[in-house]
Amino acid sequence: MDNQLITYFQDNVAPDKSEVRQIWGIFWGQLKIFMTYRTWVVTDTFNTIVSIAIYYFLSLQVQPSQIAASGYGTSYLAFSLIGIAFANYLWFCINRISHSMQSEIREGTFETIASSPIRMRSYLFGQAARGFLVGLYYMVGALAVGVYGFNAPLHFEPAALLTSSLVLVFMVLSHLGLGIFIAGIVLVYKQADPVTFMVSLFMEFFAGALFPLQLLSNYPPLAIASELMPYTYALDALRKSLIQGATLASQDILFDLAVLVVYAVILLPLGLWSFNVGYDRIRTEGTTSSY
């Protein structure tokens, strides 16, 4: 061993245990890995543009009066664009955590992470941060294509953008616990695709991503289910700010934000707790490297 190398290991360095730094580390590494999948990124971007085009042609078939009755303006394109763009975004964020977990286990890196000093919650938040940033690229792209390519009438004034950004943050926080919960399922059962598919379907349907929720009023159980979905409140606030130009001064927006905060406070600790239960289970079963 040469002397130069050994000098770097003789110093008694205090470890840097900053949780923010740990989260940044996971985010940075995962983002770098993601950016190596260039074909995948290009294909996904193409898919986003195509799906917006499909909604544009769908919007030509829907009567403005039907949308106006829901209170979100008269453009079905604007209505569905927000519903789908943000649902996809949220879905991307939630799914990323469990998908990353699956590939970490498969590639053998999970055990190295789990035997290192990083806190498991920092690892999960770092993974989520990568999903949120990459998802943002697709979501902003989808909105831009809808607005500038197909003339969807959305409000991009600073106040509306600020409001929708804040709603976006709380929408993500209120669903983060769900993503972490699904990651816990992946740890134990090594697969979560059927669960994630079901959750995404329920989320889009019950929050009214593609149709006004008034249509559910004739079916009380469905209407109740819709009210229990945090995405319902996020979508309501996003549509009000981006379609109607509502700001944080609006009571409706503040109510929606408050509901999202409540969901975040309840679901995040529950998600972390359930993940830890799953983690302890695979440590008991000795399956930290099984896939």
């Binding site: 245990k17 890995i33 055990e111 000093p117 990083i118 000795g286």
Partner: protein
């Protein structure tokens, strides 16, 4: 840290089986001193990896306790993880991010292993240099050979400078030159930086050369533990002495040796080049060597008389075979 860096007391791991539980590690007691280079050997499926994964906090024991660096592996798992560096060489580089470069892999692990950025930068460059990875440091790991991947894994294990290293097959997949360098590195880490090292390897020569003490685990139990001398004693009731003579009149010398009362049997007597070699099992080594020398003195030219010690490979095979059949 106390006198023992690794301490297991009755540690046991059972996995559910179809008819009865599968016992991977069975009430194992192990004490590894701080600063010791300790070898753990065992055939495939003997329980080595389960034991190491328990020490890494990746597997929870069914029974018993263990302390690593003075911290309980269940109650103080976070502290244990700050104390260890684990290398699982048998994965052949699977445990790296293949779509990151070697440098980025090390940067990533610096973040999750709490190595401050300025320290990490210097150490990463020094490790890349040492492991001869500098030229390819910015290429993606997926394009590396197995040996290069194992070198990156070694660098990653050393990066946080942990006091305890759990090296599971550290030289697997390495070319001869890098394997030699790595063995030297392991020795240096132990001697100069006083790292406690638990080493497992299928390369028995490596373990014999590096380790002060060796434990042999089989079917989840430690079946032998000690220094090389102590292990050798376990399989040899009598010691073996080798007599090397000049000239070719070995048969006469063999007859004289056979008549000595402390000779149990002559195992070998044959010509070797321009000389003769006789090997005999003796009951008492200390008196055998001078008695043989006296008996042959005057009539034969003795090149040397010495004790023959069995290699670890022989010890390992005898102990594990005996354990399996017994």
């Amino acid at each position: 840290m106390n006198d023992h860096s690794i301490e297991t007391i009755g540690i046991t791991k059972e996995y559910p089986g179809k008819e009865k539980p599968l016992v991977a590690v069975d009430h194992t007691d192990l004490l590894i001193r701080s600063g010791e280079l300790f070898g753990l050997l065992g055939p495939n499926g003997a329980g080595k990896t389960t034991l190491i994964k328990m020490l890494c906090t990746l597997i929870l024991p069914t029974e018993g306790t263990a302390k690593v660096g003075g911290y309980d592996i269940v109650k103080e798992a976070a502290k244990v993880r700050e104390t260890i560096g684990w290398l699982h060489g048998e994965t052949g580089g699977r445990a790296l991010y293949w779509r990151l470069s070697a440098r980025d892999n090390l940067r990533f692990y610096a973040y999750i292993q709490n190595v401050p950025s300025d320290v990490a930068r210097k150490r990463i460059e020094a490790l890349l240099e040492f492991f001869d990875l500098k030229r390819e440091a910015d290429s993606l790991v997926k394009d590396y050979s197995t040996g290069m991947k194992v070198r990156v894994m070694l660098a990653r294990t050393l990066l946080p400078n942990p006091p305890i290293l759990l090296l599971d097959e550290p030289t697997v997949g390495l070319d001869a030159q890098t394997a030699i360098e790595t063995r030297k590195l392991i020795q240096t880490l132990n001697r100069e930086l006083h790292k406690t090292i638990l080493l497992t390897s299928h390369n028995l020569y490596e373990v014999e050369k590096l380790c002060e003490r060796v434990a042999i685990i089989n079917t989840g139990k430690i079946v032998a533990l000690g220094t090389m001398d102590q292990l050798a004693h376990l399989i040899h009731e009598a010691k073996t002495v080798e007599v090397r003579l000049e000239g070719t009149d070995g048969e006469a010398a063999t007859q004289i040796i056979q008549q000595l009362d402390l000779i149990r049997r002559v195992m070998m007597s044959e010509r070797s080049g321009d000389g003769w070699i006789i090997r005999a099992e003796v009951s008492d080594l200390d008196s055998a060597i001078p008695r043989i020398a006296n008996a042959l003195a005057g009539n034969f030219r003795i090149r040397g008389i010495s004790e023959i010690r069995p290699h670890l490979e022989e010890i390992f095979v005898k102990i594990t075979e005996g354990n399996n059949h017994g």
